[in-house]
Amino acid sequence: MPAPALGGASAAPGATTGSRGEGRGSPRRSRLSLVGASVVMFVRVMRANLLTLVGFILTVLIVVTAAAVALVPAIGDLFHLSLSVLPYPPNQLFTGPVFSPPSPAHLFGTDSVGRDLFSRVLSALPIDLGIGVSIAGFSVLLGGSLGLIAGYWDRPWTLGGVQSLVIMRVTDVFLSVPSLILALAISEVLGRGTVQSELAVMATWWPYYVRLTRGEVLAIKNQPYIVAARAAGVSDGRILFRHVLRNLLEPLLVYFTMDIGTVIVTYSTISYIGIGVPPSIPEWGNMIQAYQDNLVTQPWLVGSVAAAIFVTVLAFSLLGDGLRDILDPRSRRILAASAPGQGGTKLAAASPGGSDS
């Protein structure tokens, strides 16, 4: 073989002798500092983005309140005590004067039989929140995995193409019927009741996530970095779960968070129509239905329930909007850099792209 006229390949300095950097920074310490850095980053992003901060605080308040309302009586039961964070039992009659407007004794007033509205609105919170999270969560899991499969293996004329086609056509069938009507129809078939109506909404909710996920997967899987990962010998499963899923997380989690609010509104609608939670259990939808006749004469009744729904939906929407910036490493660093001292003014500059859900 002829000797090629090429420059001498000198050994890389420090290539194999590089023992400079190790020794300091044990793995344990670096992991700890990583957690610390993430916390600092989180605080900075929150400070830079005031609306997200509001959403985050509201969400934490709502979740903590819901947990307290649901868990304190249960914990009390363990010690044979009747504990509760509510001022009155939600269904106790004549806690005060009938149709009392909001007052220090009854923060949201009382209804036609003297039940305390504040207690009723709060006692409905864990139910509504649980329904919102469980329906949206189920939809993320089912719709997300179906969308992932349908998007990743979709080459025509293969087994993957067939399953992709089947998944998408079934999704189309579900999407072609208005989801509220479909949910009503399904819950009529299943019978009335909390669980039945929840199942009905679940059955109509997942197709949106299939669409969303599949679209994102189709865009991500043709990115050069996926081809590069494949060229580096990364297996299909690892590409799917590590590379594709991580980049999916951002749109999916944002949509999920905002969707919790939408689910609560939709479920309240179903409950309002009267096929959801039975009237014996306070729930925002059936409370609005019960109080709608007094809308003009005693506006605080419907008003306080509507305000509860409004605040919950708003909290998750604001949080969801901010999550987008936190999950994207690019905007996260920009936000963190722009944070110190000068709060909300950086908001517009720091969030790239509009909301798309």
Binding site: T16, G18, Y225, V227, G233, R333
Partner: protein, 376 residues
Amino acid sequence: MTEPVLRVDHLSVDYVVGAGTFQAVTDVSFELQPGRVVGIVGETGCGKSTLGHSIPRLLPTPPARIRSGHIWFRGMDLLALPKWRMPSLRGTGIGMIFQEPINSLNPAYRVQDQMLESLRIRRFRDAGVASVPAPRLQPFDYSRPGGTKPTPSPAQPFVGALPEAMRGGRPIAKELRKEVLDFLRLVRINDPERILNLYPHELSGGMRQRVMIAMALSEKPSLLIADEPTSALDVTIQAQVLTLMKELMGEVETSILFISHDLGVIAEMADEVGVMYAGHLAEFGPVQEIFEAPQHPYTKALIRSVPNQYKDQGPLPSLPGSVPNLSQLPPGCAFHPRCPLAQPVCRDDPGPGLSANTAGTHPAACYFSTEVAGLP
């Protein structure tokens, strides 16, 4: 002569799309000897990237379709391997560096995470956890004349430490981190400890390409396919990266298939050069012969069109006509409508095969290769 790392044998690749069948690669044959660099040069759209992607079978099929031919990689016919065997061959067997350093790193992960992934793949395969069609043996003498002896690989055999790796034990994590740093230093990144925790968008283009090269090299492939690795970089960075790749070849004991449209880059890098035109390999030979005594009129015209930096020669010489549409290649030799030497036989006959033509010093797909020297 040793067994070639890569032997492409009469390879033809089509793209079947709505508008017709595009013959992106037609009847290409060449060999790559261990420790050498083969350069593939040609214009945009001549099929060089398709050729590069078809070797590790990364082309999306459909629309691409490998019509005929064989790709022998270390004695294995890659096209005969079942598709599910290919991932275990990529990376450690055939590595690849891409054209777009901007998008070739996952934006969601730090440099460290991405480097670790490559390292883990190699370690697991070396340890025999994953069965590999071609184990990363070193059957060839990679030492280049005039170069230093390859240093022993920084990775020690992994088998003894394996159970700890399964448990995710700390010593392994530390060792892996050290190796990541070693490879980042290998590609001349000055401050690897800082780079480790950066996201791709925080690096410059040259840095990203170095990280890509470090990732590809850290798997120690027998064959590295570099698909225009420097086209997106500016000239100074390009020169640095090229020098780097040439130096590191010996270090990680690999052979390179270097694809570029830039004759200067090819002259710098390659030992042997293949010139492609409209999916055909026009000429294949040692780099010096290709540049000093081209045997194909297209090569001659290509070299003539490179601007001379120091002399003002008036307008640059150019070829009449344009590159043929790959879905409607002209009959006979694909180059004949633009060829100054064209004869009736060129239109009727696809020309001599690359290997059949022994008129010149190296193979060229032209009947009149001896007359090329007389062209202006």
